[in-house]
């Protein structure tokens, strides 16, 4: 605590928190619209979660329990670092259990366990503008959102189909929120897109370097863009998790040797550990006798 003792609760000064809080309220009122905010320099680099950290810092209080994940895991170094930051500056309770958290800050995943009313999911967003790779100019993309002119996005997706036979976007797959704004869900795999739809949890998105905050209130329609003849599909895995045997969770491929050997394990470490604690086993878990389950 000593090294940061001169900083405010949750690091940010009150004036900055008020500015972010005002932006959050507007973001919730206009689902999927990117609210510009005067993002501050944070003590971690831009691109490493400064937007998510600022949103969390503006929202968090002493009664909260915080979970931080990166790639679905609580123990990746950047997740550890951000969790330690809030322990140090806000002295809040932390957890790895999805169900026990009131605020979950995430990079690249939505937890497998369904979120509950009262939970807030804070996404770290690198490029908040879904149209940015089609049109690099902010002045232009802002106009496109204003006019609800999303033809370019459909053209891009359709070109994928023409060229590859598929929509070739696998993560950061664009969604339409409440029938109005096309929104970037952050670089989560498209596997997670359906979890955003009608979630009981509040979803907040913070992009620090790009200075934008946006939100999806609970029970809000979130539709992944697609075509009638090419409906949106999520990834499926041909095998269950090697540790907990879960089918239908998002898996990471772990390379086991240099001869092409690999295994697939849940990217959501809490989900996987929880299943193992309940006795579920995969074919490479500690007790192969139970793997038959």
């Amino acid at each position: 605590m000593t090294e940061l003792a001169t900083y405010n609760f949750a690091y940010l000064d009150e004036q900055t928190k008020r500015m972010i809080r005002r932006a959050i309220l507007k973001a919730i009122a206009i689902p999927g619209y990117q609210v510009p905010f005067a993002s501050r320099e944070m003590p971690m680099p831009y691109g490493w979660g400064t937007g998510g950290v600022q949103v969390t810092a503006a929202v968090i209080g002493p009664d909260d329990t915080l979970k931080v994940i990166d790639q679905g895991a609580d123990d990746t170094t950047n997740a550890v670092s951000i969790r330690a930051f809030f322990q140090k500056t806000a002295n809040v309770a932390v957890t790895t259990r999805t169900a026990a958290a009131t605020i979950i800050q995430t990079r690249h995943r939505i937890p497998e366990a369904a979120l509950q009313t009262g939970q807030t999911l804070v996404y770290q967003v690198p490029i908040p503008e879904p149209l940015r790779f089609l049109e690099p100019r902010e002045t232009e993309t802002r106009k496109m959102h204003a006019l609800e002119e999303y033809g370019l996005m459909h053209v891009k997706l359709y070109e994928d189909i023409a060229r590859h036979g598929h929509i070739a976007t696998t993560y950061a797959y664009p969604v339409k929120v409440e029938g109005r704004y096309v929104m970037d869900p952050s670089p989560t795999p498209k596997f997670d897109n359906p979890k955003m739809h009608n979630s009981p949890a509040l979803q907040l998105f913070g992009a620090g370097r790009e200075k934008r905050i946006y939100a999806i209130p609970p029970y809000t329609e979130v539709v992944s863009l697609d075509f009638e003849d090419h409906p949106f599909e999520i990834q499926t895995f041909s095998q269950p998790c090697a540790l907990c045997g879960a089918k239908g969770s998002y898996l990471d491929e772990v390379i086991l040797d240099d001869k092409g050997g690999s295994m697939f394990v849940c990217s959501d470490t809490d989900f996987c550990e929880d299943r193992q604690a309940k006795g579920h086993r995969g074919h490479l878990s500690a007790n192969p006798a139970e793997a038959a389950e």
């Binding site: 928190k17 809080r21 507007k26 209080g61 204003a146 209130p217």
Partner: protein, 203 residues
């Protein structure tokens, strides 16, 4: 003399944690339209400011916020002195240029149309109107639907701006432009963001 000292008193006893608490109530209210969020008495402001309205002001306003106050509030030297001292807010007499509005007398307030609705490129540059009401157990029920609401919910504010359903329908019609409302009742608050669809009657 009393008015002068009042200005310096009655702010949050713990500016950091109190404002966090009030903000969470506001955030949850905005995310769950029509849900009644309890707010403790955290400030003591001169009349006609009520503890909830004053706590919202102390939570959200500072010298970067432009605020319009209705005649009942603007006419009270003590209330205005308190707001200025506690928040440093910038005042405006033009509701269409306000980020926030404080309305004590809901019956004689300007129409929602008079406030800032933002532009289609920046719909966030709109007014959040904070309305003083007696409470949330009014006789006339409204049905709310839209983002933040699972299916539908009932909302029974004790009073509403005139011709509210018509005004609100007009506000919704300009989406994403529009105003957002926060109702400050006794010991509680609730919100109606511009996305909420309102109709008469219970769910």
């Amino acid at each position: 003399m009393r008015a002068a000292t009042q200005v310096f008193e009655g702010g949050f006893s713990d500016a950091v944690l109190n404002s966090q608490e009030v903000f969470r109530a506001l955030m949850d209210a905005m995310a769950n339209p029509g849900r009644i969020m309890l707010v403790r008495d955290l400030v003591n402001a001169p009349a006609p400011l009520t503890p909830v309205m004053a706590a919202i002001a102390a939570t959200l306003f500072d010298h970067d916020s432009t605020v319009w106050c209705d005649r009942a509030i603007a006419g009270s030297t003590a209330a205005m002195g308190w707001l200025k001292f506690q928040t440093g807010l910038k005042l405006t007499s033009d509701p269409s240029g306000a980020q926030f509005a404080l309305v004590h007398d809901i019956d004689v307030m300007p129409s929602l149309e008079a406030f800032a609705k933002g532009s289609s490129e920046y719909p966030d540059r709109s007014t959040t109107i904070i309305l003083q009401i007696a409470g949330f157990s009014g006789v006339e029920a409204l049905t709310l639907e839209g983002p933040g609401i699972e299916n539908a919910t009932s909302f029974t504010p004790s009073n509403l701006p005139k011709l509210f359903i018509d005004q609100w329908t007009a506000n919704r019609a300009t989406f994403p432009r529009g105003v957002d409302l926060v109702f400050a009742g006794r010991g509680a608050l609730a919100a109606l963001p511009r996305t909420t669809r309102v109709s008469r009657g219970e769910v």
